[in-house]
Symmetry: C2
Subunit: 299 residues, 2 copies
DNA sequence: TTGCTCCTCACGTCACGTGAGGTGGC
DNA sequence: TTGCTCCTCACGTCACGTGAGGTGGC
């Protein structure tokens, strides 16, 4: 009797811990070489097929797609490459799942009478969440004459990043921000545009610096008041309207600022702070508040 | 002209932020009521359909399956129930994804020469991981005469729970434990069974108590030595063999224990500790070590 | 009349699982 | 001879997306 070291499909499946159907599928896909068929058409596998099948199973257990498993086994792609790619893939899916879990937890913890409303609120934001709607809101809000560089930088600073592993409260805040931005109509936004003779680039360049200084003051716990941040803030408004910083200018500024205030901005910044969570850097809104308080204090 | 307040499928889709194909699909599934068809066969939707479609989209964004969405909308199931069920569903999937991510990260951080071996190692454990193989290992390891209650309690204490959000090192340790348990053959296990005249229930009941006391001592940072834990430990062995605690018995015990030692147990317990992670309760193995050191110290 | 919208099939996705109906091999 | 294994179709899964080929409606 000639000793045959090939394996039947059942044998192979059992030793690798998969079903016969699965082995048949891999064979049909060309992932697993059949040594030959027996007289009756039964598949016979060479002994190396077991190790190969185990590697297929290992990669599949990590959810590597079947075609990619094939490429990894046949050395077209290195194992390292496949692992790295799959890690990235999984990161995306994890982010989406974490967001969904926090959203569901929020609903689960909501009082019954708010459930329907909150479902609509969180259901309106995509999963994983996108900041595109908020960025669009800001682009419409900013003066049209602003340079592309400053526009991008302001949008970037004003739009909070959704956290990677959010708490339910952060999901709610983000959803509310989203709704706020979606409700803002173009006419409503246009009515709050600054006057046409304003030098937008001068203003926003100055504000950017002022906010950065104020944020540092805030983080350091300093009380609002005179200082480089406030000087920079006032200089931005003075420069933008072709004037100079002076006691008179400073006295008149708060009323002008208040007149240009958009009523929902306070809500925007408080929601943005809630999205970022405790311990995050101060928002532009918080910096603005700190600066205006400083203006009042020094008056 | 009669004012018609129905919506076309395109209108409806746009306002709800989904594709026309999707609306068609929901309509065909009976999720969305069509008011009627126009002369040319075009679907017309009543105005309430928009709110309904938005709710469908919200629930689908949370990955609630379509049939379940239908039940939630038609009040067969309360929204709360659906949310709770989906939260559970997501928890399971998150656990699996977190495990996979840690496994992939482990492979990603592995030196190239260990990659293949580790892939096989972690690929052999199911995702999410199951403790069934480890429990089976312990059931084969324990004396057959042990009562079901004690058997379950020992297995429970000896098998580490895989962490919900594992670090790569914990995945590796769990995979190694798994391989260790899988490699243990029945004959290898049988050769380490205790003698037949041993009163297994007396021994393991006593050991359970001794380990609990020793674990508390360990957690409190107490050095090995005489005390209630050690008394309990010695009493368990004495009682199991029909003897009494005595200086002679204590002197002879270490050699007997060493003779019965299973060579891979030290590795088992160190892996089990690695699976549990830093700051976890001491393993039974750590308690055993502490007790044996106490025996040596007091000799 | 010209685009745009809308219609209905039919098929694809992804990795197998589930039968049905029949046969090989110890 | 009796189970058990193995074979090949064909179809199902889940929530749509993608065409093809044709028509309605402003």
């Amino acid at each position: 009797v000639v000793r045959d070291d090939t394996l039947s499909i059942g044998e192979l499946a059992r030793q690798a811990g998969v079903t016969v159907k699965t082995v048949r599928f891999y064979s049909d896909q060309g992932l697993l070489p059949e040594a030959a068929r027996s007289g009756g058409g039964h598949r016979r596998y060479p002994p190396e097929a077991l190790a190969r099948l185990r590697r297929i199973r290992s990669l599949r257990a990590l959810d590597v797609p079947v075609p990619e498993v094939g490429r990894a086994l046949d050395r077209d792609d290195a194992l390292e490459t496949v692992v790295a790619r799959q890690l990235g893939e999984l990161g995306t899916r994890l982010a989406a799942l974490r967001w969904r879990e926090a959203a569901l937890r929020l609903l689960h913890e909501s009082p019954p009478e708010e459930l329907t409303e909150r479902l609509e609120l969180v259901g309106a934001v995509s999963v994983p969440p996108s900041t595109a709607a908020l960025a669009a809101y800001w682009r419409r809000l900013l003066p049209p004459r602003l340079s592309a560089r400053l526009r991008a930088s302001v949008v970037d600073a004003a739009v909070p990043q959704p956290p990677a592993d959010p708490r339910p409260a952060q999901v709610l805040a983000f959803a509310r921000l989203h709704a706020l931005a979606a409700r803002a109509t173009d006419t409503c936004l246009a009515s709050h545009r600054p006057p046409a003779d304003l030098r937008a680039d001068v203003l926003y360049d100055g504000l950017r610096e002022a906010y950065a200084l104020a944020a540092a003051d805030l983080t350091a716990g300093r009380a609002p008041g005179p200082g480089p941040a406030l000087d920079c803030y006032v200089a931005a408004y003075a420069g933008a309207t072709g004037r100079r910083d002076s006691p008179d200018f400073r006295r008149a500024l708060p009323a002008q600022l208040a007149a240009a205030d958009h009523p929902v901005m306070a809500r925007y910044w408080s929601l943005a702070a809630a999205v970022a969570g405790p311990g995050a850097d101060p928002t532009l809104g918080a910096a603005e508040d700190w600066l205006r308080s400083g203006l009042d204090v020094s008056a």
